[in-house]
């Protein structure tokens, strides 16, 4: 009896995607803007065909233990390499690591009164430690990038579609 692996079709390469950025106002008028990485803002896309795009947040949840090791040389190198890969693929919209939840301050307004308290919204064993916003065509592509995240190997990466797929970058006013 032959027990063998089958199929050796080539793995689909993630297509290189131009980072598109548009806002609620412009979406119905075909006026897509191209996110210019150098300029750090959106440029109007003349003659750009309207196309389906999707944005996802990759949310890294990890324990204090993992969080404490974020400044290890290897962790920094892996994080940098991942960021560069996202940029090279043209899918990176934005992202950052977050300071410890102890540095958090939580604000709410009730009955017109501002309430401020020290600490994160919820004290949990695992907490949000960083995020990236990526622009890829669908969930499968987003899951592929999430799996490549260095933290996926020891923590968890939650993949959430952005509401309406908008992400506004500072200074990016729809023209």
């Amino acid at each position: 009896m032959v027990l063998s692996q089958h199929r050796s079709r080539h793995r689909a390469k993630p297509s290189s995607i131009v980072a598109l950025n548009f806002t609620a106002k412009c979406r119905n008028e075909c006026s897509l803007n191209v996110f210019d990485e150098k300029a750090g803002r959106c440029l109007p896309a003349a003659g750009n065909k309207k196309r389906h795009i999707m944005k996802y947040a990759l949310l890294v949840h990890q324990s204090q233990n993992c969080f404490d090791r974020r400044n290890d040389k290897a962790a920094i190198a892996a994080g940098t390499a991942y960021g560069e890969a996202l940029q090279a693929a043209g899918v990176f919209i934005g992202g950052a690591g977050l300071e410890s939840p102890q540095a958090a301050t939580t604000v709410s307004v009730r009955d017109g009164k501002r309430q401020v308290h020290d600490g994160p919204y919820a004290e949990t064993k695992e907490f949000l430690a960083g995020f990236a916003i990526i622009d890829v065509p669908n969930l499968d592509a987003a899951l592929e990038w999430a799996a490549r995240h260095p933290a996926a190997g020891y923590a968890s990466v939650e993949v959430r579609p952005l509401l309406g797929s908008h992400f506004v970058v500072g200074g990016n006013k729809p023209s």
Binding site: M1, V2, L3, S4, Q5, H6, R7, S8, R9, H10, R11, A12, R27, K50, R51, H52, I53, M54, P137, N138, L139, D140, A141, L143, V159, P161, G164, S165
Partner: protein
């Protein structure tokens, strides 16, 4: 054509084409729920118009054409997601062209199956989702087979469809390296529909029984869509082999009959023949997998000699392969029994006892197998206890009665 005949025609067209129409529309919009809405509107309109105007020449294409109107409405009035309008208009145009030309519209059901069994979909809802979208099975019937309330089942289905739309789960057939794992999800979801209809031994007319038929229908569709996939062939062969024995599993007054005592004249020879044909076709690819191995085991049972002799050493060998690629609790128990039946009961019992205790606490087949093996080894007290425990875990009355009887007869 009389009105009732027209209704029957519409129903037949809808049933035959339901999955294809849903898949075609949803693959373009990414929205299964909207596709269902559009199609159900189209069917409702057909039920109104066709008895008056007569059944059209291309009923399938006409349903698609009618669905187009609803799709355009959705594009115009609904809170349409970004860019969705383009897609909706594209569908509308394609629907129009399919309706007026001789072309068949493309079959996108394979993509739909991969979406239903996507790893981002809750495993518990994958099978119900397939049954509903591919075959158009009523949620109430699915709910009764899965032993949940119709409301709870509907909520789960709605949640899954919302996830497909909002997370943009792509309608695509995956490629390596994802291929093997993703195909396994599809096969497992189909097999789960089958076993949900099979494990319960209730009366033949129950919803459970109908679900087995549905599972086989999806299995056939899968084979039709990917004729060169040995595991899809293996799964269909496995389901057909099991289904072939349905009538022999009970005596006329409902008494449970174990496989080795079944009256083979009550087996469906045509289903067995079909299963064997699929299994041979699968073997030609020389690429063994879980479902082919399980089907091969059933194939040996099906070809047992008229005097009841079964080639247990061959079955034991197949189980060795099976536990290597799919060490499920069921295959580990099956392997132990095969070893014992092949003439080594002590080795079989040892294999059984090696299965981690926490995995078998509530697993009825383990305790039935243990009772059987202890009986072979003449350890009667222990055998009785094991049969009693198995009986207490059985959820089917006929099986429970059988197991209690085995316990009582171990003297």
């Amino acid at each position: 054509m009389s009105e009732s005949a027209t209704h029957a025609t519409i129903e037949a067209v809808a049933r035959k084409s339901y999955g294809r129409l849903i898949a075609y529309i949803a693959a373009r919009s990414g929205d299964v729920a909207a596709a269902e809405d559009a199609l159900s509107d189209a069917i409702a309109a057909a039920l109104e118009r066709w008895p008056v105007d007569g059944v059209p020449e291309k009923p399938e294409a006409c349903l698609l054409h009618a669905a187009r109107n609803r799709i355009i409405d959705a594009a115009r009035h609904h809170q349409v997601r970004q860019n969705a309008e383009t897609f909706l208009r594209q569908i509308a145009e394609e629907a129009q062209s399919v309706a007026v030309t001789q072309d068949q519209f493309p079959d996108e059901r394979l993509k739909l199956l991969f979406v239903c069994a996507h790893p981002a979909i809750d495993p518990a809802v994958r099978t119900p989702l397939m049954l509903q979208t591919v075959l158009g099975v009523e949620p109430a019937r699915i709910a009764s087979a899965f032993l949940v309330s119709p409301i709870a089942m509907s909520q789960r289905l709605v949640r899954a469809k919302t996830k497909i739309r909002e997370a943009t789960i792509p309608f695509r057939v995956p490629e390596p390296p994802e291929w093997n794992e993703r195909l396994t999800f599809v096969l497992d979801a189909i097999y789960s529909a089958y076993t949900t209809g099979w494990e319960s031994l209730m009366e033949v007319s129950s919803t459970h029984h109908a679900l087995s038929g549905d599972a086989i229908a999806i299995g056939r569709t899968l084979v039709q869509l990917m004729p060169a996939e040995p595991e899809a062939l293996g799964l269909l062969a496995l389901m057909l082999h099991c289904e072939a024995r349905r009538a022999a599993r009970f005596k006329d007054h409902g008494e449970f009959v174990p496989l080795d005592q079944q009256d083979t004249s009550r087996w469906s020879q045509s289903m067995i023949d079909e299963a064997e044909e699929h299994l041979r076709a699968a073997a030609a690819f020389q690429c063994m997998g879980r479902y082919q191995l399980e089907a091969a085991i059933q194939s040996i049972h099906a070809s047992r000699a008229p005097d009841g002799r079964i080639d247990w050493p061959e079955i034991a060998l197949l189980y060795e392969g099976l536990v290597k690629i799919a060490p499920s609790i069921g295959s580990l128990v099956g392997r132990a029994v095969a070893i014992a039946q092949a003439g080594r009961p002590a080795a079989g019992l040892a294999a059984l006892d090696k299965i981690p205790a926490n995995r078998v606490t509530n697993y009825q087949p383990f305790w039935a197998a243990r009772g059987h093996l202890l009986q072979l080894l003449n350890q009667k007290d222990e055998a009785r206890k094991a049969f009693t425990r198995a009986a207490s875990l059985a959820d089917d009355p006929a099986l429970r009665e059988y197991l209690f009887k085995r316990s009582a007869n171990t003297i």
